[in-house]
């Protein structure tokens, strides 16, 4: 049952967005998020919406996958809207009991909601169209300048890649241990939250022990295959910018310019 969990949320499809270099997608996502906080009027948000819709159409990922990510932030969204709606001072619009909705409150609440929704959808587009592997590669390449400040960029990327490789292995193991414990009368289902959490102990302890053993073995296997950190290392699948990546950067710059323009002149 645990095997069915898919990693990340990559959606396989043949599209321009899928083929883009992961660095482009990472930078584009960051730019898009920044643009959401720059724009301050309806025209700006319209431009952002058009941009987002175009990218989603191009990515050929069904829209319902984008909204899936929203479920996790519904609560956050609600709180943000409520606080902005009732606690912004200004010209009163409606007022009942002790609460007043102001014109400014309505404006900032709706802007805030749109920002959050766009932000989630925008980053989903990236995670849905990029494999975890590609994503770590892209991050490693982008963070490369940080090496100058002694940030262990390669090591972090390698750790992420190994974690991704071992998640299914450990899930399978969890499943196995769970069944073994259930066979001996362990109960993972009933009881309140605290009781349930306590019942996880006999599951987690063997899991941790085995994870450490695996880490030990893996480290030895990596050393035996001449692994000695990121220096002198070549790549089997190096990231290379292609024509379409340059075009994507150009579109991105145009988008940012339009956003800023809309903010200043409209």
């Amino acid at each position: 049952m645990l095997r069915d969990i898919t990693l990340g949320q990559y959606y396989q499809a043949e599209s321009v967005i899928h083929k883009l270099d992961p660095r482009v997608k990472l930078i584009a996502t960051i730019t898009f998020i920044i643009s959401l906080f720059i724009v301050d009027n309806i025209a700006g948000y319209l431009i952002a919406a058009i941009f987002l819709v175009c990218v989603i159409r191009l990515s050929r990922v069904p829209f319902r996958f984008m909204i899936r990510g929203m479920r996790t932030i519904v609560f956050l969204l609600l709180i943000t809207v409520v606080f902005n709606l009732f606690l912004t001072p200004g010209e009163p619009l409606v007022s009942f009991w002790k609460l007043t909705i102001t014109k400014e409150g309505l404006r900032s609440a709706s802007f805030m909601a749109v920002r959050l929704v766009f932000l989630i959808i925008g980053s989903s587009v990236m995670t849905l169209t990029t494999t975890p592997n590609n994503l770590t590669d892209g991050m490693e390449k982008l963070m490369n300048p940080l090496k100058f400040f002694k940030v262990p960029v390669h090591e972090v990327a390698m750790m992420m890649a190994i974690a991704l490789r071992f998640i299914p292995v450990l899930l399978e193991e969890t499943d196995k241990i769970m069944k073994a414990q259930i066979a001996r009368g362990a109960d993972f289902e009933s009881g309140n939250l605290i009781k349930k959490a306590k019942s996880l102990v006999p599951l987690l302890v063997p899991l941790f022990i085995s994870a450490f053993r695996r880490a030990n073995d893996l480290a030895m296997a990596m050393e035996a295959r001449c692994y000695r950190g990121g220096e002198h290392r070549t790549k089997m699948k190096p990231l290379q910018y292609k024509r379409r990546d340059a075009e994507a950067y150009f579109v991105l710059v145009c988008y940012l310019a339009v956003c800023i323009g809309a903010n200043v002149y409209l």
């Binding site: 592997n133 695996r214 296997a221 990596m222 050393e223 035996a224 295959r225 001449c226 290392r233 070549t234």
Partner: protein, 286 residues
Amino acid sequence: MGNFITMGIIKTEKLVFEYIRRDEEGNVEGITRAVDEVDLDVEPGSFIAILGHNGSGKSTLAKHINAILYPTEGTVWVDGMDTSQEKNLWDVRQSAGMVFQNPDNQIIGQVVEEDVGFGPENMGIPTQQIWERVEESLKAVGMYEFRKHSPNKLSGGQKQRISIAGVIAMHPKCIILDEPTAMLDPNGRKEVVRAVRALNAAEGITVVLITHYMEEIIHADKVFVMDRGKVAMEGTPREIFSQVERLKELRLDVPQVTLLAHELQKSGVNIPNGILTTEELVEALI
């Protein structure tokens, strides 16, 4: 340091390795001699098997050849290089590739071809050549059509063959397999042994196979049997298997055919010593 011309691809001289057990304060509690004055000399291109029950020191010996462990006393040479010298470390590891027991714990890549490319990447091989090496290695172990698969979905035998491909992509002169079949089912075991034999025969890679399955060693050129850190027996598989009583003393299981032949011989049937396969026994009986 000896004569390079006559020196084998792997040579150990009076190799001793001691595990030091310490208590919580770091005081020495006891010393275990895992490997005790072992002399090995492996000729290039040969197929060597090292046998022994659990705790006989065979895995510890293997880890010396790949410079994962360093000798407490004595010396190990791989292709003429002393493994205890820091400057030789990466050359030693490249010349003597190692395959471990647990197939899950030695695959690093998330895609088969990426895992096979891991070794060459570490060695700094140019991208184009990495792809060539990955292709030829996967073909050599018969896993080429699985190159785009995730290793998680493969069987144990297939995973071990990928591990072997990952090692041969580094173009080693010899490959050490530390109980590569211990966690596999009989079919997986056969798959792996077949792949290893093919490599030895076709590519001329020296193979050191460490195992406790007797069936796997009948094709070896030379067998070393280890017991309590020492080499207890040494010879061709036929020489080894003709000493059934001695093998039993060392707590090793003799293949059923050999055992049957031995029992028949004991009860007066006239057949030669050291029968290895069913065919041989049938031949001898008719």
